[in-house]
Structure formats: C-alpha cells, structure tokens
C-alpha cells in the first residue's frame, strides 16, 4: 500500500490489479442526493482476495457496480478514479496497461470489452440472476461469443466444458434447461461458470452465498477457492457475513455509509481491529470461545437515513469513542497505522 508523506493513501504502485481512489457515486433524487458511495479507496492485487464487509446499505454493491460501469440510473460516478490493469492482447507487443474505468463511457466499446471479459460479476439471488425464459446454455454462450472469436458450436462446447468444471453433473442436458429447472446451488454454479467462461482477471462476487443454505454455501466457497487457484484471478468478495470473510479473504475493507473505514489483512481485522465500528461489528457476532450466557453487544442506534447523513465522520452518532468538536466537524481520511493496516478515524491521527 502506497502512502504519501502525510500518511494518506496515494496512487497505487504498478503491481496492483485494481486500485480505487476516492470513488464517489451519487444518486440525485427529488428529495435530495443519496451519497451511496462517498470517497471509497482500496487496492486489490493480482490473484488476491479482498473482502468487503459492511451492513446493508453501506454502498458495497454500488461500489461493485461502479467498477463495472453499471450503476442504475439516476446514479452516476461523480468523482474518483478506478485504475484497472487491462490484460495484454495475446501475441501483441503491447504490455498490459492501466486504464481509469471511471473516465470511460459506461456503455462505450472499451468499457464493454472489459465487462464480462476481464471483470466478471456474480451476485446473490441466483434465482433471478438468470433470465427465466432463456436456457442456461443460451445465456452462457452469449458471453463467450461476445468476447471470444468462437462460433455458436464452439461456444456451446466451451459452455459445457465450463459447466463440467464448476461441478454441474450431465452438463450436456443442463445447458438446454431453464434456470427454474435447476436448484439454487446449481444455479450459482452455472452463474460462476458464466462469469469465468472468459477467464477474467477479476471476479466480483456480490454476496454470492447469501441466498444459499449452509451446506451449499460451503461448497460454493470451496469451488471459488479452487477455481481461483487454477485460474489465478483476483476476487473481490462483497458480503455482510464475517464468517465468509474469515474463510476466503486475504485482505478486508470495512465499509460504513459509503466509505472504507478500515482496511487490513484478515488476521489483523479479526484480532486487532482499530476502528470503533469494526470493533463494534465484531462484538455483535458470537464467537466459538465466548462463554455461556455472555451477551452480544448490538451496535447502538441504526444506520442513518440516506438523505440525512451525519456531518463529519459518518459513524460519530453511534460511536462509543465520539469526540465532540472533532468527529462531528470534519471527516477523517484513511491513514496507515501499521504495515498494511489503514484506518479512517481521528483516534489514530
């Protein structure tokens, strides 16, 4: 992680795959502007896994969609940079290069060439993420034919091969089925097959296991780890489930109200959390070692209304360490407090 003289995060060094700086995505509405993402910064390295945690509505999904350029109207990226390392064109002399996705037209040819081919998305609700009236095969063929020079027959072969790789039994028959003929776990496997069919360098998994039962959850996570080892793609894993994070992620970014409040390696987040929000979040979940009758502490208050964001540090109304005059006046920025540990809190400035 690169740090400038004042200790704030600066432009990332060359080896990052994705580095997001001060990303702001706003939704202008009649009632006021919803600042869904309000200054998010983080880095992701090739082949690495970054977990993004936070409560519902903290802007995790909007961050993911901003990276892909598919924010729903009227939402729009108003500020910030999204540097993504594009793959070298096969056989070409051109080396891989960094592109600022935030400056690309969301539906322009370059953004669309990245989307699906180099950055793929899977998300929760495998039930409704497939069109119910097109066959699974049709929907996977489509993305393969779009990004690779393959005809319909070759694409179908590749689809079947992908389905086999993700553990779908008798894929030759499954390709011709509709998504509602598959079980939830199979659908999510098919979804992963579709996402990985073009061999992306980054997979964004938005709550990939939330809608699944526990057993299937474990299987899907194991599958993702295995495919990551085989293909070497990076994963950006968005979830509100700290258990999934512990199992999968190497680094963790904690989000609250559209901002990253803490980023660190997974062990440090769990064992030495710095930000009061992270600490509170961890106190609110049960632990193996917690004693009987020990109470869980919920985080005081509730997430503020999106039109009505607190001034200064967005967490201050709920923060046990609230310092009047400081936290409600100005917003803290993300600063390094350890080797790879960054926190956005006045306690550490």
């Amino acid at each position: 992680m690169a740090v400038d003289s004042k200790g704030a995060l600066t432009a990332a060094p060359r080896e990052t795959l994705l580095s997001v700086r001060n990303l702001k995505t706003y939704f202008p509405q009649d009632e006021g502007t919803v600042k869904a993402v309000d200054g998010v910064s983080f880095d992701l390295y090739p082949g690495g896994t970054l977990g993004i945690v936070g409560e519902s509505g903290c802007g995790k999904s909007v961050t993911a969609r901003s990276i892909l350029g598919i924010v729903d109207r009227p939402g729009r990226i108003v500020e910030g940079e999204i540097h993504f390392r594009r793959r070298a064109i096969d056989g070409g002399a051109e080396a891989d290069r960094m592109v600022d996705l935030a400056t690309l037209a969301p539906n322009g040819p370059e953004m669309r060439a990245v989307r699906g081919a180099e950055i793929a998305l899977i998300f929760q609700e495998p039930r409704s993420s497939f069109s119910p009236v097109h066959t699974i095969g049709n929907q996977i063929d489509e993305v393969i034919m779009l990004h690779q020079q393959l005809d319909r027959r070759q694409a179908r072969e590749k689809t079947i091969e992908m389905l086999r790789r993700v553990g779908v039994s008798s894929p030759e028959e499954r390709v011709n089925q509709l998504s509602n003929q598959l079980s939830g776990g199979l659908r999510q496997r098919a979804m992963i097959a579709m996402a990985l069919s073009c061999n992306p360098s980054l997979l964004i998994a938005d709550e990939p296991t939330t809608a699944l039962d526990v057993t299937t959850q474990t299987q899907i996570l194991a599958l993702m780890r295995q495919l990551q080892q085989e293909d070497g793609m990076a994963i950006m894993l968005i979830t509100h489930d700290l258990g999934v994070i512990a199992e999968m992620a190497r680094d963790v970014a904690v989000m609250y109200l559209g901002r990253v409040v803490e980023q660190a390696p997974v062990d440090e987040i769990f064992h030495a959390p710095r930000h009061p929000y992270t600490q509170a979040l961890l106190r609110s979940i049960p632990r193996i070692r917690s004693g009987p009758r020990e109470r869980l502490t919920p985080i005081a208050g509730s997430v503020p209304h999106p039109y009505d964001r607190p001034s200064g540090c967005p967490f201050h109304p709920r923060c046990p360490e609230f310092m009047p005059g400081t936290c409600d006046r100005q917003a803290p920025s993300l600063r390094l407090v350890g080797d790879q540990h960054a926190v956005s809190c006045f306690l550490y400035e």
Partner: protein, 329 residues
C-alpha cells in the same frame, strides 16, 4: 404444450356454442315465428308465398317442435352454409353479407396489427425513458385514447376532415371503385383507406397495451438478470431487447387475445359513423327491421371469427413463452 392448446381449443368450441345459443335467442326474441313474419313481409311487398313453400320452411326449421329441436335444425342448416333468407332484402343471407364479413375482419385485423406495431415500441420507449418528455406525451395521448369512445373519435375526425380539408375521410373505397369487381387497383385503394379506421379502432387498445407494456417492462428492468446481462458487456440495446422486453412480452401477449373481441365490437359502431362497408351497418339495419336471420347470422359469424382469431393469438403466446411449452413435460 399440446395440452395447453387442446384446452384453449376446447374452450373455443364452448365459446362458439355459447355464442350460437345467444344468436339463436336473438333470432327467437321477436314475437311470432320466422315463417309467419316471412309470409307477412312478402305479402306486404305484394308477393305471395305458396302454402307448400311455407310448409317446407316450417319443416326445415322444425317450427312447432320443441325449442331444442329448432335450435338443432338451425345449427345444422348453419353448418351446411344455409343461413336462411333475409326478409328485408328477400335474398339469401349469404348473398346479402357478401364481402362485408371479410372486410370487417380486414379492418379488425389491421387495427390489431396496428395496436401491436404501435404499442410495443412506444411502451418500451416509455419504460426505458421513464419520465422523459416522450413518456409524458405517450401517457397523455394514451389517456385520451382510453377516455374518448372510438365512435366519438371517428365523429370528430370525420368532422375535421370535412371542415378543414373538405374531404370525406370515411369509407373503405373511393367512390368510383365502390362497386367495381376486385382488382389490384381496388385492393390498393382499400389499403389506402385502411389507416384511419384502423387507427380509430386501435387507439384505445394501443393506449391500454402501452400502459401494460410500460408497467411490465419497468418491473422487469429492476430484476437482477438485467444486471447480469449488462455485466456481460452486451450493448444496452441488446440487453434490453433480449432480456426484459422478452419477459415483459408475456403478460402483454396474453392480454392481446382479448383485444380482438374488443376491436370487433368497436368496429360495428365505428363502421356506422365512418360509413365502412362492413357488417356493422348491416347488423344495425337488420336489428331495427327485425330481420332476425340476417342479424343472428352476423352475430354468430362475428363470434366465430373472433374466437378463431383469439385462438390463433393463444397459440402465438405458446410460441413466445417457453414456460407454457414446458408446462406438461
């Protein structure tokens, strides 16, 4: 799929039966039986019906026998293509109706096609560009289309054409071709006259279908599979046309089956205002003159054609929605 089509076909048969009963009731409603009024009518115009001929007719229609026998005889004659005699015109009903039935269907089907052709793109546009100027314009025109009964619309259009352009916007043919035999020129003339009646008849249905399409598509656009399709890198146009539009089409297609009866109904009155040579004016005249065989035949034929049209659109629906195709597999 076969079970679905079979079910629809069975229902269509029932519908035709129900219409035939109602048409028979209409024929039976006026006091006195058919032969007596026929003789009276003929006598009034100076010709005499012989006793023998009258008896033949009585036997043919089972008069004096129980009502269900009469119904059966009538249906049987009907199925053979013998629709009886028109009292007012003193000619067989088949001859009196002539081209009019086909012209009715031509007008109704072109209105239906126009409904599809207009409602689909306008509905898609309104949903994709929700709250845009075009969306508001479509909504406004839609409300007018729903609120103004089509015969009033025809009246206003006719009046405007008459006062502003001094032109007769009514009719299906130019005056000089009205009684000419069918030819390419006449068919082309018909085609030129079709848009106005089709538009008038189709407007209300179009407005309704635009509302349905817009609402469906707005629902579909929020579904996650749209995000999936976008995340593949497809162009926005392809994303919308292949996925949400395709799904929004299903409820759209299932309501369109009910549009045909509605248009056929409307065409009766509109034809009267616009002076179209369809069965509409003929039916009205027959009803007022109590020429019941003619009226009953028109009602039944219209019903049968509408049912066939609806059945065709039902089968189209099966073709559009794979979920129905899978229902019984």
């Amino acid at each position: 799929m076969l079970a679905y089509i079979g079910r629809r076909a069975l229902l269509a048969v029932f519908t035709v039966w129900a219409i035939s009963v109602l048409a028979f009731v209409i024929i039976q409603l006026p006091p006195g039986d058919y032969v007596t009024s026929y003789i009276a009518q003929m006598a009034a115009s100076g010709s005499v019906v012989s006793e023998e001929e009258a008896d033949n007719l009585r036997i043919q229609y089972g008069l004096g026998r129980p009502i269900y026998v009469q119904y059966y005889k009538w249906v049987k004659l009907f199925a053979e293509g013998n629709f009886g005699m028109s009292m007012e015109w003193k000619r067989p009903v088949t001859e009196v109706i002539g081209d009019r039935l086909w012209l009715t269907m031509v007008v109704a089907v072109s209105a239906l096609l126009l409904t599809w052709v207009l409602a689909l793109p306008i509905g898609i546009y309104s949903a994709v560009r929700q709250y845009s100027l075009g969306d508001y314009a479509a909504t406004f025109v839609g409300f007018i289309g729903l609120a103004v009964p089509n015969f009033l619309l025809a009246l206003v259009l006719l009046y405007l054409g008459f006062t502003l352009f001094n032109a007769n916007t009514g009719g299906l043919f130019s005056v000089e071709l009205q009684d000419a035999p069918w030819s390419m020129a006449k068919a082309w003339d018909l085609l030129k006259h079709l848009p106005i009646p089709a538009l008038i008849l189709g407007l209300a249905g179009t407005a309704q279908q635009v509302r349905i399409m817009r609402a469906n598509l707005l629902d579909e656009l929020r579904k996650p599979y749209v995000v999936t399709a976008r995340s593949k890198g497809l162009t926005e146009g392809r994303v919308i046309l292949k996925y949400p539009v395709r799904l929004a089409l299903n409820p759209f297609a299932s309501t369109i089956g009910y549009t045909l009866p509605y248009i056929v109904s409307g065409s009766i009155i509109v034809s009267l205002v616009l002076g179209l040579p369809t069965v509409g004016p003929l039916l009205l005249r027959a009803l007022i003159a109590q020429d019941m065989f003619l009226a009953g035949t028109i009602v039944l034929l219209l019903g049968v054609m509408t049912v066939i049209g609806t059945l065709v659109s039902d089968i189209l629906l099966v073709w559009i929605d794979p979920r129905i195709r899978l229902e019984d597999s």
